[in-house]
């Protein structure tokens, strides 16, 4: 009997001690922050994750800039889609998926950038190469600025988060004045310009370069130069054209970039590698690869079909339901802006009618990024075409705009010649323009950059957003009367409802919502 008890007692105590250790389980199929950031490749993977948040950037531009603008008349027929209230200037869009997505993804990108910047500061010694550490830090700062600029353009005032914050701290950080947010953006970009290389080789091609940072900073100065419309938005009414100009000039004189001779070639699926080896127009790309091997994840794009209807894909026998649920038609106004022989029209807009299940659909849609021979074989989320976030043509036209706004330069060489070069490429340059005006420049930008998500911001900067939009709505929406008039408050979007709910009283809603 005594023995039995002894055995039980021993067995029991062995069990207890050995089991206690079992409570410390480590995830079997996932890494954790505790075990990460120990080697150079860990930091590189951490920075790659900051880039990863760029993947939704083109879709966002199409949903929140292109659809918002006069390029799209997207009043839906059958039921209301998420893009309908964006297009029709409905007031109740605080819960809109696209609005929520913009805030969430951009702040997630900022969080990831902050995480890496802090980890480099803390554990950066494990990186071995100081050059690499500096570059990774600069890449993160470039991306932080990129996400912040995106936020400012959509929401105006936003909270400044320059380090990782926990819930308790986040609940105390209010939205900062626009000027202060810009201060962070400019500081980050200036540091990035100093520390980023001019170009990359091999596997690193596509990372942020010095010129990407210069291009972005130029965009920032120009946005600040736009009017305020009496709203706390991206425009501050500052005249910083001459601050933007040298940055643009530096990109141009680098000799790394050039205009593509053929307009279509800019968006060719065969011309996907960015400069220096590939697409000379691409100053900064959001990069996608289709059918990435050796992985079950998808690294391809969805944005090419965001503005194209599913039924078109069905009509050409695509079984994967590419495309939006309904037609999101290109506005008549935009179509009418193109000359018949403008190569950009046919390339950018699908105007031919097509049949699906016995019905004929005649409304045009955007197809700039669509090559119907390149429909991905496995998933409709896996299109293999990069999105040029900063295009060399844009750099040239931005410079022209700065000059027209009074920055030092020549009307003939820096404005007229550039615009004519682009018109020639489009097949409409037979009669060169002289003394190109700002208005003509913006019209050219509209034709050139249609379906690239630039229109809404161009309108903002031009100072004519409200009048242009309302004039257009009154004509285009004459019969259906589905759209509301644009007021100044609509320059920016509302703070998403989820954010107002998460920290009641912390953020004030934008005026107009």
């Amino acid at each position: 009997m005594k023995k039995i008890f002894l055995i039980f007692t021993i067995a029991f105590s062995i069990l207890v001690t050995s089991c206690n250790k079992d409570l410390n389980q480590v995830p079997i199929s996932q890494g954790t922050t505790l075990t990460f950031y120990q080697s150079p490749s860990d930091f590189i993977q951490g920075v790659n994750a900051v880039y990863s948040d760029l993947r939704g950037y083109p879709d966002r531009l199409l949903n929140l800039s292109e659809i918002r603008s006069d390029n799209i008349y997207g009043v839906s027929d059958l039921g209301v889609r998420d893009w309908d209230p964006i297009n029709s200037f409905q007031k109740a869009i605080t819960g809109n998926t696209y609005v929520e997505e913009a805030w969430n993804t951009d702040f997630n990108g900022i969080f990831r950038a902050n995480e890496v910047i802090e980890q480099i500061k803390k554990n950066g010694s494990t990186i071995n190469s100081a050059t690499l550490a500096t570059r990774l830090d600069a890449e993160s700062r470039f991306l932080r600025a990129f996400y912040y600029f995106d936020l400012v353009r959509y929401f105006g005032k936003v909270p400044i988060i320059d380090h990782t914050v926990l819930a308790s701290e986040a609940n105390t950080i209010k939205r900062s004045a626009i000027a202060d947010v810009y201060k962070l953006i400019i500081a980050d970009l200036q540091l990035a310009i100093t520390n980023l290389p001019a170009s990359y080789t091999g596997v690193d091609v596509g990372r942020a370069t010095k010129y990407a940072a210069e291009g972005l900073l130029a965009q920032v100065y120009m946005a600040r130069s736009g009017p305020t419309y009496g709203v706390e938005g991206p425009g501050l009414g500052l005249s910083e054209w001459s601050l933007a100009l040298p940055l643009l000039q530096d990109i141009i004189s680098s000799g790394l970039f050039a205009l593509n001779a053929n307009f279509a070639n800019i968006f060719s699926y065969a011309n996907q590698s960015p400069t220096p080896t590939g697409n000379k127009e691409a100053v900064f790309d959001v990069m996608y690869v289709t059918g990435a091997s050796g992985t079950s994840s998808i690294y391809g794009a969805t944005y090419p079909w965001d503005l194209a209807p599913n039924i078109y894909f069905k009509s050409i026998n695509d079984s994967k339901s590419n495309g939006s649920l309904e037609v999101i038609p290109v506005s008549n106004d935009l179509l009418n802006k193109y000359a018949a022989n403008d190569v950009r029209k046919a390339f950018t807009v699908h105007t031919a009618s097509y049949n699906n299940a016995g019905s004929t659909e005649t409304r045009p849609f955007f197809q700039k990024y669509l090559d119907f021979t390149k429909i991905p074989s496995t998933s409709r989320f896996d299109w293999g075409i990069n999105f040029i976030a900063i295009r060399y043509t844009d750099i040239m036209l931005m410079k022209a705009e700065c000059v027209l706004n009074g920055a030092p330069g020549s009307q003939a060489t820096d404005v007229d010649a550039v615009v004519n070069q682009i018109r020639t490429r489009a097949g409409i340059g037979a009669i060169p323009l002289v003394n190109v005006t700002l208005s003509q420049l913006f019209d050219e930008r509209r034709r050139e950059f249609a379906d690239e998500g630039s229109r809404w911001f161009d309108l903002q900067r031009s100072g004519n957003l409200i009048t242009t939009m309302n004039n257009w709505i009154n004509v285009e929406d004459l019969t259906r009367k589905q759209m509301n008039q644009v007021v100044a408050g609509y320059i920016v979007y509302p703070v998403p409802q989820s954010q107002l709910d998460a920290a009641p009283g912390l953020y004030t809603q934008n005026t107009g919502y």
Partner: protein
Amino acid sequence: MENSFYFHRSFYFYKRTQIFRVMKIGLMLLFVSMGTIYASAYSQNRDITLNATNTSLKEVIKQIEKQSDFTFFYNEDYVDLSQSVSLKANKKDIAVVLNSLCSQAKLNCKFMENNLVVITSESQQKQSKITGTVIDSENGESLIGVSILIEGTNQGIVTDVNGKFSLTIPNPNVILKITYLGYLEQKIALKGQTRIDIKLVRDVKNLNEVVVIGYGTQKKANVTSSVATFKNKNLDERAISRVDQALVGQMAGINVKQTTGVPGKAFSIQVRGTGSISAGNEPLYVIDGFPLSTASTNGAGNFATGNPLDNINPSDIESIQVLKDAAAAAIYGSRASNGVVLITTKRGQTGKPKITYNTYLGINQASRKVNMLDGQGWINRATEIINGQYLATYGAKGAKVTDDAAARTAIVGSFNVNYFLDPRWSQAGHPGLDFINWQDQIFRTGTMQNHELTASGGNDVVTYFVSGNFSDQDGFVKAMGYTTYSARANVEVKATKHFKMGINIAPTYSVIEDPGVEGKDNIYHQALSMSPVQESTAGAYANSFNNAQYAWSNTTNSVLAKLQNIVGETKRYRTLATLYGEYELMKGLSFRSSINLDNTDNNSRSYVPYTVSSTLLSRTFDPAAKALTSNTSGSFNTYKRQTFVNENTLSYTTSFNKVHSLNVLLGQSYNFDRTDNSSLASSGGYTSSVIQTLNAASAVTGSSSSTQNVLLSYFSRVQYSYNDKYLLSASIREDGSSRFGVNSQYGVFPSASIGWNIIKESFMHRIHALSDLKVRGSFGANGTNNLGSDYAPIPTLVSSGYAFGSTLAAVIGQSPSKIANPNLKWERSVTYDLGLDFGFLDNRITGSFDYYNKLNTQLLLNVQVPEVTGFSTYLNNTGSVRNIGEELELTTHNFVGKFQWNTSITLSHNTNKVVALGPGQTQILIPSSFDISNFILKVGQPVNSIFVIRQNGCLTQADITNKVAMYGTETVGDPKYQDISGPKGVPDGVIDANDRQIVGHPNPDYTWGITNTFKYKGFDLSILIQGQNGGSIYSLLGRAITRTGQGFTDNAPSFYLDRWESADQPGAGRVSKVYSTFGRIVNTDWLYSSNYVRIRDITIGYDLSNLIKKNIVQGARIYITAENFFGRDYYYGGANPDATNTDLSGNANYLAPGDYGGLPLAKSIIVGLNITF
């Protein structure tokens, strides 16, 4: 001699001298290590030392009782204990001593089991004799040990192993009182009879009934907490394919929801409301002492890695007990917050081998349909919408509703279904078109069969129960089916007097065939939505194989063709095994150790051929010259789930001083749970149109992952009763779980309960109407660790890849997926329970009533945080939810005797309220996958309250003139909504998200069940009616088929016949005009009551034992059952008010499973036969 004995007026069993020893042991069990206990252990004593000279027999017996463990039974009326005896003995065996004493006193002594000694007088033998048998009235089995007492005397007898008895009686007209544990008492006036056969009727609720509690059993009369019991009887007499199916409507406070119509799929069980917001509300299941891993439903309401009741054969089950309150469940501590379901399987009984064969055959059909518009109704509605579109778009160009095709072509330019009508619609007999009821196309009458053979029995050394079962059920939807094979062996060996060991092993295998019928855009949803008008050339095979889509139809592929060609098959092999040993260290003290393994291997495969997907073009011709089979897809997924549990308990039971009884338990448990998943899917289609396995896929993608957790527990319980009158129970458990933060892995869960058996008080003897009365109260704390993830506090990294390179290639990115929380700890619930158990009129009426108040605190809640943290939510212990409810269980024996009628009623009421959320937070809007949020967590309101805009009829011109608030560009005939607020918190004349209000909650306020059973001669009839009241359904299926702005192609419910057509024909006010362009917003259009009343089961049986020779067959019963044949619900936007099949939140942090195409329940008719050999 006959084994008759006489009863003393009051019995006593005890060991007075041992009180203090026992108390010490109890304390030591709790607080001291086990080594110490050994020192005070002692062995049984049979040696007696006496030195009596002319001492009274009474005194001598007292001395013997002091020295030994023996207890004496005698009746002072017959046995003269005052006579003097003399005897000297020195350490002599008690048998020798007693023989000597009894022969001196001319008395009979007889040793019984359990150290009882019965003393009777030799002169008691009387003249008259009565003989007879006692059998069970239901199955005719002989009853052993039934007590038969001559009323008014203390003279009696018990029946022998054959149920026979023989008793001498003082006169031929005595009345016999027959009592037996578990049966109703009977009194029989002999009236001179000398032979009598007695049939005893089982007592549904008996005070001496023993119930299973965690780690042991307890007399039901002494239970101080809230425990609901369900007996197997109800299982054997019905045709049931899952255990959870049997529980519907049977126990108060336990809400069993049949969330699916797919046979073989798990039900959802909730005990006492929804206490947790995101850590699961499913109870813990314990089978024969083996606590299974808790499983929670995923966002879609399914059990992704199995349900604990999967593959468990219902007919193997002896009883089910549900520990409802915290005090009962607290012994399971950290996982007991949602109640504990204890399942006991059948064991062998000592005696003759018993062989049973149970079988049933039956058919099943859909119990109801969703009434949709027929072909003509659809045409009328489509015409209205197409004309509306035509006018709206081309009105300015002179379009008129009356325009024919030519006129329309002139205006529109080219043919377009959105503006053109099919001319055949208006032709008599609509030539070339078929009207198809798609639900009729997919439904069928399915057959079911079940066969089961069991053998049980045992002797003093071995008891066994062995069963084998085969069951096959065709669903009421074509191609749907469920087949199970299961076996069980429960064997126990009493190896020595003090050691027994046993093994329970149950291997099972099941196959579920379901080509994806339930859920959003799946077959049933499509069968409702698909246009009921199709080309005659294609018929029910529209848009599949070589048939095109009808121009005016939606793009859905024929649901019939899909059912016939898509494969969805789940095969599950599960084995539950328990090996245990129990050693009796000393009298009353035993050590039990068990090793348990639950292993499930599940694999599911799917195959979707190109012939039933996409468009005609892709099925017949591919311009890119890709193989047609590139649109075929397939997958193969597996999971292996293993739960290993080792439990060691020490229990001590004793009673002392006649009135104190004590039960002490000390235990320790180790629980390990691991799941390994793998998935393979075809990529880029198939290379063969014949082979379905993935070797024929063009390419295959695959992945695997694993997850595991450990739970470590220590627990103890003390149960004490004074005279069975005053009852006390307390327990404590400490659990450590690997799922929590390093700073807070351990949780302590105490409980205490008290009870007072008032009926045992002497003052109650005067109140004859009352036969049972007990009040009880309990308090306890429990926990939940059901996080859905084994690694919730750890900031795991997720892959966030990107592409780089001059030759573009994917690169790996890693980013944290959440905010770390090393302090994450147990969700905790504290429950107070007050209960009353009562019985009236000799327990003809029995019942119990409970009131409970359960507060879940430090909820594992994903609190919304500003996105500037990088994330939208953060898992933290915050917030609380309170459930308050009352439960009533009532059983009445309305008629006893030849015609029997019993009624049992269960009624539960539960109110549920969010008490607090995150700090400073008053509400959380639950995200929606499909629209703006329509569920809300709001302080003071029920969990997941429905938060939408209220519709108030349809807009009239007068409303518009008066500028009532409108949504978007509404016009006359569109719905009128209630404007209750705006951005500034006051009505603003605009309908938008600010006008949402709480209009209902998903959980019913009342759930109830009534079972009536009748018996007459060999016939029995039982009827179970069950229902619920007070809940609402916000139906996304309803939204899918009735939303404003819906196109004409999709079909709509038949209540659309009462729609707004014009100012003169405004319809019933619920359905606005069908052509609308203002869009839609979440509103009460899609709100339905979840109330229902359902006659779940009607069974008529006949006992064949009267017709069959007893020597071949002991008992036989034939029965016919109708399940779910009658019922009424108010869910017009779907088929099953309890259905859940689709993730409505699209967010793992806030689970909101809902109905988006759930099947109706099956109704079935079954003929069954039970035979006992």
